[in-house]
Amino acid sequence: MLAVAWIIPVLPFLAFWLIIFFGRRLPGEGAYVAIGAMGIDALLSIAILAQAVGGATYQANMVWAVLGDRALEIGYQIDPLTAVMLIVVTVVGSLIFIYSIGYMHGDPRYPRFFAYMSLFAASMLTLVLANNLLLLYVGWEGVGLCSYLLIGFWFERPSAARAAIKAFVTTRIGDTFMFIGILLIFFTVGTLQFDQIFEAVEAGHLAGVTLTLAALLLFGGAVGKSAQVPLHVWLPDAMEGPTPVSALIHAATMVAAGVYLVARTYLLFFGSPDHGALTVVAWIGGITALMAATIGIVQDDIKRVMAYSTISQLGYMMMGLGVLGFTAGVFHLMTHAFFKALLFLAAGSVIHAMHTNDMKEMGGLGRVMPWTYGTMLVGALALSGVPPFAGFWSKDEILLEAFHHNPPLFWVGLVGAFITAFYVFRMIFLTFSGPLRSHHAHPHESPAVMTVPLVALAVFSGLIGFVGAPWWGNPFHHFVEFEAAESVPFDLNLALLSTAVALAGIFTAAVVYYWKWLSSASLRRAARPLYALLVHKYYWDELYAFAVVTPTLWIARRLRVFDLYVIDGAVNAVGIVFVWLARLYRLFDLYVVDGLVNLIGWVTGKVGGVLRYVQTGSPQNYLLVIAFGVIVLVIGGILR
């Protein structure tokens, strides 16, 4: 089974081409083809996971090209980390594909949507299966391209087109660092295979400052892709894409690729002197987690709340990896994929019913949309970290690792957990409780093709955390582990503390938005400067506009002026000089050159006539040419 794992990315790739070419002629207008490919992939992934749990690993290579004496190899591998990622991508992907049938119903570019989604799946699975940085980079850029195409899927809307460009350019900045990092590794070690790079690290060929630099450059790519501070600004805008896209690409899988990259090359970070690179990862993650969570409090767009929540949770994953919690970070990646996909799809169901993203228009939807409400509540509890839901187990582990290895970050994480619970239940209360605030909306429950995936994801979000539960020996820890960093055993006191914090967050949200003992308006007034800071998202966009966009435009304008006056002036001056010269030259031209040109033209015309004459279509002439040809060759050869 492991030997045929290469087929996993190939299937959606074929589906992409089929749908692009045949589109509406295919079953389900292409949707069934895409879902079929993903479904088979999911089954294969489950089989692979079963074998990987049994301890099997696999690796296959082939030489793609030889550059001088350096061979560029490509290949794939199966190990626990890959097996987990395969499950996440294919299972969540399949459910989201099914959901999309309902959500995208009636869209004029319906087949194209499934084509892009399939291409995305193919790229993501390539990225996950790659056993070398080259193939990983291919998949990495592939998912970036699909993200661009899908954010701008409704490109008629200027905001969507702008968001697509913003996402592409911002992540490109990170990718450039990553590419430099890849080159640095290639020219230091001479290979891009992960296992050979790791051997070089262990043997000390790649060490010291170079190693830290390489790790941090790679992390630059991860910062862009996983929307970490300071390159997080693209993800909220990316919500312009269709909601299934937000769920699959901008919550569950693609944005987690950055976390996956750090996990995959963990030894580079771990091996840097004093874990220097890891410390950077941890702090970037912690800052991102707290900052994004606070912004999430003041958002009124239901998808933007989710977007900031995603950024914040990705920050938690990075923080987990950074504080030596390899398993904790990967575990959170997995649980988050399920419950965040659930939250997004539920939000999509709400949007489908309300035709708006604005939570101020909503309210009281719990009564008309019981399935959506119930499943979203499960997602919200999982996100808040309330036991026994999935998010509790993984977030608790991250906090536990932080407590032991980096106490300041533990407090950052704890405050973040409180805020997380607060903003997500703010969203729940605003959406589902109280009276309906919009007067012209007629909400209704979504069709079964949308609610069934929701229920499936809710089951996962409820139960998947148990694979990391302590009372049967924490099997996930023995499956996905990084040997050099022993994970910290479960601590009941900390678990109780984090649960208490989550419940406190929910309670506070209820005080303000459910029971309304405190009005949110008065809170806003009381903390006006803080509120302004949050509403402006810590002024990141303004900062970039001021520090990057404006100077670039300014330079461009100055260059244009320079172009207009200096260069064009010089060109014009040269031009004037040459006009004068030309007038002189004209006389020469008229009598000498034209004569020559006419002569050449006359000769060419004659030659052309002769050539045409040669290709007469008359065999007699052809045979004559053979004779002449041979004679010319003989004479040419002998006289040489």
């Binding site: 090209a65 052809y622 045979l623 040419v625 053979i626 040809g629 041979v630 010319v632 060759l633 050869g637």
Partner: protein, 478 residues
């Protein structure tokens, strides 16, 4: 002296092909008109079976059979495989478009031609070489004039015959001079004995022989039959001639020059370099104004012959001959594919004019996409098969000091982009005159798909082909 059993084993694929041709003829006799496709299917199946013994021979040590007159080495095996694949694809493509009473004979003739081509590539004796060339020529004349009711096809057959007969005559004159100088017809013996031969006489014989080989590979100035014959002959035949026949011509030329003539220290590199440069330039320039796809492909095939000649001229480097083989293989898939699209459009629209390809991207999206791939490959853009071939022959030219030839080649690549992209432009940009989808028959689809896959796979993952080609040339030098 009788041939031994091992001799018979060595020509297993050839015997099989001969039997297959007879079998197809027999099947043709006993099938009713309208069911002749069965003959074609049997021919394709039989050809594919030939690949089994042929590829088993890749592992053999090089040897000769029948008293040194027939070589079974990596080089010959490479061309066996290439010829058989090309023939099978051509038959597949012809099965839907060619409906006539004589369909079965057509397939049998193609199989026999394939046999002749295989013999050409393996001949190590002047007489066997002459016989196999004549064998191929005769069947090809018939194939070119196959559409008896069509005056253009008749014209193609007659012209091909006249031109071919004259070129063969000149070549055999060259052979006879070689025989006169060496006193032997065996290429390996000739190689030994020509070392003391007078140079001017050798030049004369090389020039005379080039007429014959030049005719087969459509090298300037022996190219003139090409556009007329391709235009008039049935399109599958044109595809076959432009690929399989050309490949075998190159095989015979390379074996002759490298094995027999080169040890005599005749410097024919400059001569061939000039011919290569002239061939690709002239072919390109004449392709520019063509509006008929078959004439365009004919001139483009002349220009590609020039490119492949670079590989012959640069034979002294490490990449020359392998480059030639890689180029030929990639070109085989690409050119066949392009012709197959022409078969499809010609059969459905009754037109071979490039402007009539307008809107093909909507009327036959798969074929249009593949055609675009083939056009880009013929231009030599990565990641396609011909790019790898061009990369290798140009590299070989630079390596052996023929920098100017490489420059000419690159300039010609750029020129060729114009007329190849013209086809893509017609298919994707020009408005269609009608929106009715063009039916794409299944057998042709399979042939097109294989050609497309071959083009892309060689372009994306060339290493196995490169290894195969290097292996084939190592064995050539015995």
């Amino acid at each position: 002296m009788l041939p031994t059993a091992s001799d018979l084993w060595s020509i297993g694929p050839e015997l099989w092909l001969a039997g297959l041709g007879l079998l197809v003829l027999l099947v043709d006799l006993f099938t009713a008109p309208g069911r002749k496709v069965a003959a074609g299917a049997i021919a394709v199946g039989g050809l594919l079976l030939t690949l089994i013994p042929a590829s088993a021979m890749l592992a053999w040590d090089p040897r000769t059979a029948f008293f040194g007159s027939y070589a079974v080495d990596g080089f010959a095996v490479f061309f066996k495989i290439l010829t058989v694949i090309a023939t099978a694809l051509v038959i597949l493509a012809a099965m839907d478009s060619l409906r006539s009473r004589f369909e079965g004979e057509f397939y049998a003739l193609l199989v026999f031609t394939a046999l002749g081509l295989v013999l050409m590539a393996g001949s190590a004796d002047l007489i066997l070489l002459a016989l196999s060339i004549e064998f191929v020529s005769l069947t090809s004349y018939v194939l070119a004039g196959f559409l008896k009711a069509n005056p253009k096809s008749n014209e193609a057959g007659i012209k091909y015959f006249l031109f071919g007969a004259a070129a063969s005559a000149v070549m055999f004159f060259g052979f006879s001079i070689v025989y006169g100088l060496a006193g032997s017809t065996n290429l390996y013996d000739i190689a030994v004995r020509l070392r003391t031969a007078p140079q001017p006489a050798l030049y004369l014989s090389v020039a005379l022989m080039l007429a014959g080989f030049g005719f087969k590979i459509s090298m300037v100035p022996f190219h003139q039959w090409t556009p007329d014959v391709y235009e008039g002959a049935p399109t599958p035949v044109a595809a076959f001639l432009s690929v399989a026949s050309k490949a075998a011509g190159f095989a015979a030329l390379v074996r002759m020059l490298l094995v027999a003539i080169d040890p005599a220290r005749v410097d024919w590199v400059l001569l061939l370099s000039i011919l290569a440069a002239v061939t690709m330039t002239l072919g390109n320039l004449l392709a520019l104004p063509q509006r008929n796809i078959k004439r365009m492909l004919a001139y483009s095939s002349i220009s590609h012959a020039g490119f492949i000649l670079i590989g012959v001229a640069a034979f002294r480097g490490d990449f020359g001959t392998p480059g030639l083989l890689i180029y030929l293989l990639g070109y085989t898939f690409t050119q066949l594919g392009a012709f197959f699209v022409a078969v499809l459009v010609g059969a459905q629209l009754r037109s071979d004019d490039i402007p009539d390809y307008a809107g093909l991207s909507r009327r036959a999206p798969v074929s249009a996409f593949l055609m675009a791939v083939f056009m880009l490959s013929l231009t030599g853009l990565p990641p396609t098969a011909v790019f790898i071939g061009k990369f290798y022959v140009l590299g070989a030219a630079i390596e052996t000091g023929l920098l100017w030839l490489a420059v000419v080649g690159i300039i010609n690549s750029v020129i060729s982009l114009y007329y190849y992209v013209g086809v893509i432009r017609a298919m994707y940009v020009m408005p269609a005159t009608s929106e009715t989808p063009i039916p794409e028959p299944p057998a042709l689809q399979v042939a097109l798909g294989i050609a497309g896959l071959g083009t892309l796979i060689i372009g994306l993952y060339p290493q196995p082909i490169i290894d195969l080609a290097k292996n084939a040339t190592l064995l050539l030098r015995l």
